[in-house]
Amino acid sequence: MTQVGTSGLQLNEKLLFEHSDKGRKGYSLPALDVPAAQLPAELVRTDIRGFPELSELDVVRHFTRLSTWNYGVDSGFYPLGSCTMKYNPKVNEVACRLPGFAGLHPHAPEDLSQGALELMYQLQQDLAETSGLPAVTLQPGAGAHGELAGMLMIRAWHEARGSRRGKVLIPDTAHGTNPATAALCGYQVIPVSSEGVLRAAAVAELMDEDVAALMITNPNTLGLFESEITEICRIVHERGGLVYCDGANLNALMGISRPGDLGIDVMHFNLHKTFATPHGGGGPGAGPVGVTAELAPFLPVPVVVRDEEGIRLDFERPQSIGTLKGFYGHFGVLVRAFAYIRSLGPDGLRKATEMAVLNANYLRARLEETYHLPYKARSLHEVVFSDRKLAGGCRTLDLAKRLIDYGFHPPTIYFPLVVAGAIMIEPTESESLESIDEFCEAMLAIAREAETQPELLKEAPRRTRVGRLDETRAARRPRLRWDGGGQVGEGQE
């Protein structure tokens, strides 16, 4: 096999604050063309202790070196299940930096923001068409923020009808943010066990007049389509509840099936997962939410609307849940998603889904004899194995760390929680047959190593800049900032 992982020269770099303190700066200002001004002395700070003093090259070199310690999609295969790390097209980066987008002030008058508003309006329409949910807000700043918006709308809808329900049903395959969101909306969380897919009978048993909603992920976090979804929605609706769909896995459904057509009432979109916006090492994301017409009055303000005079921001919506953040959403992320949807068109979106599913099933076929597959139903865009067949006392974490030595970012590990030692792999549509083959060969080689040389797994990774890190120590003795010296372990607490 081709060995992807190799090692090269990696340069050391101190913390910004450990560079010498020499009065440098990497910035220039024009000459001040107005008289200097002063604030009363009691308002003014003396100094900023410890702040860096560096030239431009110092700064450029510092962050360039740090960048080489990171692994991104552009570096290699990044099969994080449920996180969907697809390729981030470069034209999207150009698009969001167009001066007319990047330089537009959110308080600019509406008649001077028509290009941005038009883009937002069209994106709302595109997301509505893709999901089958006619009303869309672009405001939430991330998927979990979209969940919050969605669940607040569900509660507002119930309250508008004079109903005060207190519970939310959440299957055991749910994302960790689902229960946290329900709790933030004042709901009690009732877990529902699934058998890989959620059974309508299980929902029927728990569904009563005090349940406000069911939160479901479809395809779920095992990569399986919730085949009883239509029946589940019918049961929930019949007893006066609503169905929330976590849209994390919409990448498996584009052009194939629309949540709104199945009976889903509310769904968020993770733009980075489905529409190829970059995740940036933790964010920014964007979490638009689609709802049925019945829920549209509760959308957060402002809503982008079109009338005779053009497109404007509508703040006058008396039933709205309010505003969720400053201004109108992560516009720069929205531009990238819009560019992606326009680049692919309807056929391309469907094709992306098909190839994502093909890749996941091919990868599964290559590994399922060697790795334990807890759920046998046909996978969609991701597949979950477990470490049960891994020899030599090796666990999922060891496999993950050894994959790094082979040159791959590990899959999602220990998730979903319903599978002990879960290994959740999502290749996405952007990976070629060759790159998936290389990954599969590494996975097979590691399984052999576990039988013969398990220490290779347990001591991995060995080719990285740092070895396995002591996470327990970090949590027991938190050092969350540089404070002028001292070694790890001398921190507060």
Binding site: G26, A144, G282
Partner: protein, 449 residues
């Protein structure tokens, strides 16, 4: 299909390995009734050049500082962004990476966030800062929730001079949480009225939230507010909508703030019609275990080398789920990186000088406008780089006239303050030259450019 690599032969080979006859067969678990029976109704695919042409046309329909002389602030600021910032965040090892769950191959992101946390602590004077939040408004809402958790109290005082989006976001987050929100009015200085504050503060209060500077650009008296709040056991939350001010103003911690949140857009992020921006969140050590969001901590690897990891995750949704301190999952990693680079470039002296330029330009504009007939400066409090102006007639009419001369002269306040039909907020940064300011004054006065 330029982002999808599969050839027909690849597809045939893969289907054979799977043992499926067609791609269609792979979707067999989706019942027929659940299938979409028609193509999506979306515009056809664009080539890269067609796409860029379409987007360029849309972008040209927006006003910017390149097309207009701009004096808009109110929570989003037109500061200069050094070229190195965008250059460095455009390195794909940064922007195409995920949340750093695998620390051995994410040390770049992790160290940068650790540096960001440190810079925020240095700027605010606080003990700990998280790895960022969606924006200033949502960070403010999370701060209110944290104060309520920490004090186990349910009454929250919000200054009426606090940014309206921050107030609205706090209200949305608290909608179903049995918290009582009380607005505290301002006085003739534009600062929160200390008498009203004293009257409303009591032992039921979890928090008092003040802007620093506030929405009117006025510098609140945090010291007095802190004495009053701590006397009743309430947390003082300082919400910083223009963090460049911290280059010059006393750090909130020094004045007694317990939690400092704010918007980091001023530090190297483009205006971008309101996002993505960067929320920062800093607190005292007492609140460490209650802090929402991600935290990066220093540790050692198996060989005793320094490294960084995500830490204290038990507070997050990963483990305790419905008992999580917050439902926030992602942070604004790339935006935090941009701010870290920006602050590293400016450094100790550059930050101070840039803040001083903002102060001087705004002071000049304020003085020139105050001298115009029909215009007054209604608030007497000290300001940093923005201030309220009262005009001779409706602010929207005055500003529309100014706009016809290619000037975005300010933000009418009437939408949030119905009692202020003639007032507008003017912001002046280091980007505005003296002749921009003179042009604004001439236009306001009714003269030509």
């Amino acid at each position: 299909m330029r982002y999808i690599p599969h050839t027909e032969e690849d597809v045939r080979h893969m289907l054979a390995a799977i043992g499926a006859g067609s791609v269609e067969e792979l979707f067999c678990e989706i019942p027929s009734a659940a299938r979409l029976k028609r193509p999506l109704q979306l515009p056809a695919a664009r080539s890269e050049s067609e796409l860029l042409a379409e987007l360029a046309e849309l972008a040209l329909r927006n006003a910017t500082a390149e097309t207009h002389r701009m004096f808009l602030g109110g929570g989003a600021y037109n500061h200069f962004i050094p070229a190195a910032v965008d250059h460095l965040i455009s390195r794909s090892e940064f922007y195409t990476a995920y949340t750093p769950y695998q620390p051995e191959i994410s040390q770049g992101t992790l160290q940068a966030i650790f540096e960001f946390q440190t810079l925020i602590c240095q700027l605010t004077g606080m003990d700990v800062a998280n790895a960022s939040m969606y924006d200033g408004a949502s960070a403010c809402a999370e701060a209110v929730l944290m104060a309520a958790r920490a004090t186990k109290r349910a009454r929250v005082l919000l200054a009426r001079s606090l940014h309206p989006d921050y107030r609205a976001t706090v209200a949305t987050y608290c909608r179903y949480l049995d918290l009582e929100l009380v607005e505290i009015d301002f006085d003739a200085s534009g600062r929160t009225d200390p008498d009203r504050l004293q009257a409303e503060l009591d032992e039921r209060c979890a928090a008092l939230v003040l802007g620093y500077p506030n929405f009117f650009g006025v510098i609140e008296d945090l010291g007095t507010a802190a004495r009053l709040a701590s006397g009743h056991g309430a947390r003082l939350i300082a919400a910083v909508q223009e963090p460049l001010a911290l280059g010059l103003l006393k750090p909130p911690a020094e004045l007694g703030a317990d939690i400092v949140v704010g918007e980091g857009q001023s530090f190297g992020l483009p205006l971008a019609f309101g996002g993505p921006y960067l929320g920062f969140f800093a607190a005292r050590s007492q609140d460490l275990r209650n802090l929402p969001g991600r935290l990066v901590g220093e540790t050692l690897d198996v060989n005793g080398r320094r490294g960084f990891v995500l830490t204290l995750a038990t507070r997050e949704q990963h483990i305790r789920r419905e008992k999580a301190t917050s439902n926030i999952c992602s942070n604004q990693g790339l935006c935090a990186l941009a701010a870290t680079i920006y602050l590293a470039l400016l450094g100790r002296r550059g930050l101070r000088e840039t803040a001083e330029h903002n102060l001087a330009k705004a002071a000049y504009a304020r003085k020139q406008i105050a001298a115009l007939s029909g215009f007054t400066i209604p608030f007497s409090g000290e300001v940093f780089n923005e201030f309220v102006v009262e005009g001779p007639k409706k602010a929207a009419d005055v500003l529309r006239r100014v706009q016809e001369q290619g000037i975005l002269g300010g933000i009418p306040l009437v939408r949030w303050y119905p009692d202020m039909p003639q007032r507008f907020l003017v912001c002046v940064t280091e980007q505005n030259r003296r002749d921009d300011i003179d042009a604004l004054c001439a236009a306001l006065a009714g003269g030509a450019l």
